[in-house]
């Protein structure tokens, strides 16, 4: 059973947005995590996954059908609201404005990736500072490690999938070796964390 210490629990109560990044080997877990979020989930969820823009991906549509929350590709200058899952569109970086509007960006790929996890994590951290909870799962490159470090320095909560339970360890290991991560969790514990977030946030709102 996942046990959160008091400090983390208190910080979770303040969180305003959940960020989730993954790449190779992380899609299945991402899908299951998102599809189990209850309707009326008290936070917006931003998802950055690496995928080719050349092939149309149906992950948002399937999630929309199977899950409890509305899922959509982030639109430019759309106001981010709680209870919605936003995916970064393939081939664009996803940023957030200080006024809470999502912004798309077509600048250079980072670590050969667009969307880049680093870029999104940094942008959300710039606006929401400590009130960010960032989760990094399985992946085959080091995108995300710098973003996690950035979130951590701003006082946000960092969560990494235990490399031993990740299909591809490179991404979680890169983050762990770079930053003092708050929670390194096995798959089951990540599900429990999402439940805990739901409970902690629901009690205060």
């Amino acid at each position: 059973m996942l046990e959160l210490n008091r400090d983390i629990a208190e910080r979770i109560k303040l969180v305003k947005v959940i960020l989730l990044g993954c790449s190779a080997g992380g899609f299945q877990l991402t899908f299951e995590l998102l599809s189990k979020l209850p309707s009326g989930f008290p936070l917006p969820v931003i998802v950055i996954i690496h995928r080719s823009p050349k092939y149309k991906s149906a992950v948002e549509d399937i999630l929309n059908d199977k899950g409890n929350l509305p899922v959509r590709l982030a639109m430019d200058k759309e106001k981010m609201v709680k209870g919605i899952i936003y995916f970064a569109p393939p081939d664009y970086h996803l940023l957030i404005e200080p006024n809470g509007e999502l912004t798309l960006d077509y600048s250079e790929p980072v670590h050969y990736c667009r969307p880049s996890i680093d870029i999104s994590f940094e942008s959300f951290s710039d606006v929401y500072t400590k009130d960010v909870l960032a989760i990094l799962l399985s992946g085959a490159n080091e995108d995300g490690a710098e973003g996690m470090d950035y979130v951590s320095r701003a006082g946000g909560i960092t969560v990494v999938q235990d490399p031993d339970s990740a299909e591809v360890k490179i991404m979680p290991e890169a983050a762990i070796s770079r930053t003092n991560i708050d929670l390194i969790l096995k798959d089951q514990e990540i599900f429990e964390l999402m439940d805990a977030i739901t409970n902690l946030k629901s009690h205060i709102s």
Partner: protein, 277 residues
């Protein structure tokens, strides 16, 4: 010791100061630009140049050649030939046949960067036998990218990648028909350049300069806030002839209701609109 990346960071408040500094000295107004994107671009310049905020301010005040570089770096100049082949297919199938009876087809590529998109339009016009009647205007805020676009010389490595886009469009030619390769460079053929004109134009401060049958502005509006996006779309509206076509990027659309009413959707997926009122 590796440098602390935060050393080169800039806060949103500091960003406002730099924006007003640039406005006062150089009369470039970035007020309507996306703060999220600008902040990232400015941190990037500071990292590249290894300068802190103090240095950045003093370079901006004291060096107009630094400002040229600054301008180049804070705007995004990433572009491709035939990016989104589906868009060019829609242009070929839904827009060009409509314009084929026109004596002149003037296209404005706003925010043309280094010219790849404008030359893609030129190729499409040539293939539809419309090139001789076409005038293609490319404008950008940056004089450096305009010079680059005029030369029309691209790396052969990039051309190979653009070739894939071009093939996906489905034509009987190959992209190599349109450039001359020399060592590792590909230079756009002279015949394709003769009806093109590149010049500096700032969408924030400059107005209508001609009347066009097509205005294409793709992946530029995303760097603006909603207010500036609306203002620029009005500029495009005013620049279009009656029944002229407006082409936006794959993630940009006419969401402002007042403007949306003045256009008809020609292709919903590729964001092509026609001025109807």
């Amino acid at each position: 010791m590796s440098p602390d990346p935060h050393h080169y960071d800039i806060s949103f408040d500091e960003l406002e100061e730099v924006i007003s500094l640039v406005k006062n000295i150089y009369e470039f107004d970035f007020d309507g630009y996306s703060r999220a994107s600008l902040k990232r671009r400015m941190s990037r310049i500071m990292q590249l140049k290894r300068i802190n905020l103090y240095d950045l301010r003093s370079l901006l005040v004291n060096s107009s050649s630094f400002f040229d570089e600054f301008l180049l770096e804070i705007t995004v100049n990433v572009t491709e030939m035939f990016r989104d082949p589906g868009f060019y297919r829609a242009l070929r199938e839904k827009v060009l046949p409509y314009l084929s009876s026109y004596p002149k087809i003037k296209t404005w590529n706003a925010g043309c960067s280094t010219g790849e998109e404008l030359y893609s339009f030129a190729i499409l016009m040539a293939e539809e036998n419309l090139y001789d009647r076409s005038f293609l205007y490319g404008t950008d805020i940056n004089s450096k990218v305009i010079e680059f676009a005029k030369r029309g010389v691209y790396s052969l490595k990039n051309m190979k990648q653009y070739s894939e886009n071009y093939i996906a469009l489905g034509t009987s030619h190959t992209l190599a028909d349109y450039y001359v390769a020399k060592y590792d460079a590909a230079s756009i053929q002279h015949q394709l350049k003769k009806n093109t004109l590149f010049s500096v134009h700032n969408l924030v401060s400059d107005g209508v300069f001609n009347e066009f049958q097509i205005v294409s502005c793709r992946n530029v509006l995303i760097y603006f806030n909603t207010e500036l996006q609306n203002k620029v779309i009005e500029l495009f509206y005013d620049s279009l002839c009656p029944l002229g076509f407006l082409c936006l990027g794959s993630k940009e659309s006419l969401r402002n209701e007042k403007m949306a009413k003045k256009f008809k959707v020609i292709d919903k997926v590729e964001h092509i609109y026609q001025k109807i009122a």
